[in-house]
Amino acid sequence: MAEQSMTGGGSGAAGRVPTVVADRVDVVYRVNGTGAGRGSATAALNRILRGKKAERAAGVRTVHAVRSVSFTAYRGEAIGLIGTNGSGKSTLLKAVAGLLPVERGRICTDGQPSLLGVNAALMNDLTGERNVYLGGLAMGMSREEVRARYQDIVDFSGINEKGDFITLPMRTYSSGMAARLRFSIAAAKDHDVLMIDEALATGDRSFQKRSEARIRELRKSAGTVFLVSHNNKSIRDTCDRVLWLERGELRMDGPTTEVLKEYEAFTGGGRKAP
């Protein structure tokens, strides 16, 4: 228990249970079809026939997106991830969620982390109502549980505030509406680890308030929440700890106020904070 006496700080430090342990994690992307001979059919065939040897010749480039990042997240924490565009925040979350393989190192988690992005709707050609049911069932809820929580999910998302939109296909939703419904579906279940990728930035102010409240609830029910955002205010409002990534490296890890102060100085005097 050396590390817990070392942290010294908060109350109940001895009872802190880790939920995510990242141990010197590297993530590398491989991109096909760059460099010489790009896109031509012969180059593609050559790559297939000659296998790995031809990778470099055919212009497969590697992008080292996350470099040797280590951290331990504890139950009940809300952790913000900040960094300039392309610094590896979303990549790191995907790796923690188990959606991207790590090149080196290891990520251990308690239960199954759930990643919540904003760009993809669940099933575009199905109605919001169907998506609520399918999302709930896919997360492992029973039919009864989904039925019991259905109204809560719809009310929380606020989809029906401007009319009966929940019975329309999701492709007719605005991106903000789709993101809100997705967040509402995922937040309906208690996750061990919930990761949110800029979701709070898309909703309107009243939805942001509701989701901040929901995140606090989730933390009380002993989960860990990760939040990627470029909105320093929403980080400040919801997170008590911040990881700052820059060029794939963990530049700083500490209490929100300290890290944000440094980050704002780095990005130019807090112009990002509203």
Partner: protein
């Protein structure tokens, strides 16, 4: 008071805590690791309501943009049968020699379409549902199985049309019609298995969706969907007996002929290969179990990239 996290320095040297030991002490598991096969089966079983709900939702969404809506569920297979009847029955006159040619043809087309569309849907089962795969965690085998189930539901609509056609052409209802149930069950297991195989390939190499229609068309012509393999190939003296036997024992031909045997009174048991039920069950087991295990072996890679 804020919890001050340990200063997680990137330098591994002086760190007194070993992350691996910490993870082990609290029973953390490696993220994105593949579950064991029994655990995977349990997870899939726990998601059975998702599988059925997904299939039904996809089926109803399919024609949601059409004005006639769900009428197309029955109209599409009927039109399909009409086209094949026009080409093979009227223009080419393949029918000579086959009694009850129209029921023979329509049964073949519907049963074949079930396998064909299950496989085509399987190629896109993962790559076409990336939004779902990347957002939520569930055993990915639920997707290809669900797509196969959607095609089964589609086939049940077609069967309504088929019964109308059969009765219209004066095929008598008999107790052998009950054999359609085990035949369809076995075919569904086979289709779901193949869908899982192509889903794994399609997740890594989406090109298979371009290639598959050609493979499937070749397979269709080799399976006696529009003609009786016995009569067309049996008449060729130069065709080796082994080739004919192989064609007759291929899974598509087996399931098609079983259905014809079940539904059409003039289609006799003598036209079936020997041990046909064992063949049907064998193909279903091979594809179902083999496809499932093969799909599971790449479980942790789906949705990445």
């Amino acid at each position: 008071m804020l919890d001050t996290p340990p200063p997680a320095s990137a330098s591994p040297g002086p760190d007194p805590t070993d992350p691996a030991a910490l993870a082990a002490r609290y029973g953390l598991t490696v993220s994105g690791a593949r579950p064991s096969l029994p655990a995977y089966v349990r997870q899939l079983w726990a998601r059975r309501h998702f599988v059925t709900a997904f299939a039904t939702a996809k089926l109803t969404a399919q024609y949601s943009q059409a004005k006639l809506g769900q009428v197309w569920q029955v109209a599409t297979p009927l039109l399909n049968a009409a086209v094949y009847y026009f080409v093979f029955g009227v223009l080419m006159g393949t029918s000579h020699g086959v009694p009850d040619y129209v029921p023979f043809l329509v049964t073949g087309v519907f049963v074949w379409t079930f396998t064909q569309s299950s496989i085509m849907a399987g190629t896109r089962a993962i790559s076409g549902s990336l939004g779902l795969v990347r957002a939520l965690h569930f055993p990915r085998a639920a997707l290809p199985v669900s797509y196969a189930l959607q095609q089964l539901q589609q086939l049940l609509f077609s069967m309504v049309a088929l019964v109308v056609i059969l009765l219209g052409f004066g095929v008598p209802v008999g107790p052998s019609w009950l054999l359609a149930v085990p035949a369809l069950t076995l075919q569904f297991v086979f289709n779901a298995g193949v869908a899982m195989v192509v889903a794994r390939i399609g997740a890594k190499t989406p090109d298979i969706a371009q290639l598959m229609p050609f493979v499937l068309r070749t397979w269709m012509y080799a399976s006696g969907v529009m003609w009786s393999l016995d009569r067309v190939l049996g008449d060729h003296g130069d065709m080796p007996r082994v080739v004919l036997l192989a064609l007759e024992c291929n899974p598509a031909a087996v399931y098609i002929d079983l259905m014809r045997f079940a539904l059409i009174d003039t289609f006799h048991g003598g036209q079936l290969p020997h041990h046909v039920w064992a063949l049907a069950a064998g193909w279903a087991l091979l594809a179902g179990v083999g496809g499932f295990i093969w799909f599971w072996q790449a479980e942790e890679t789906y949705g990445r990239g």
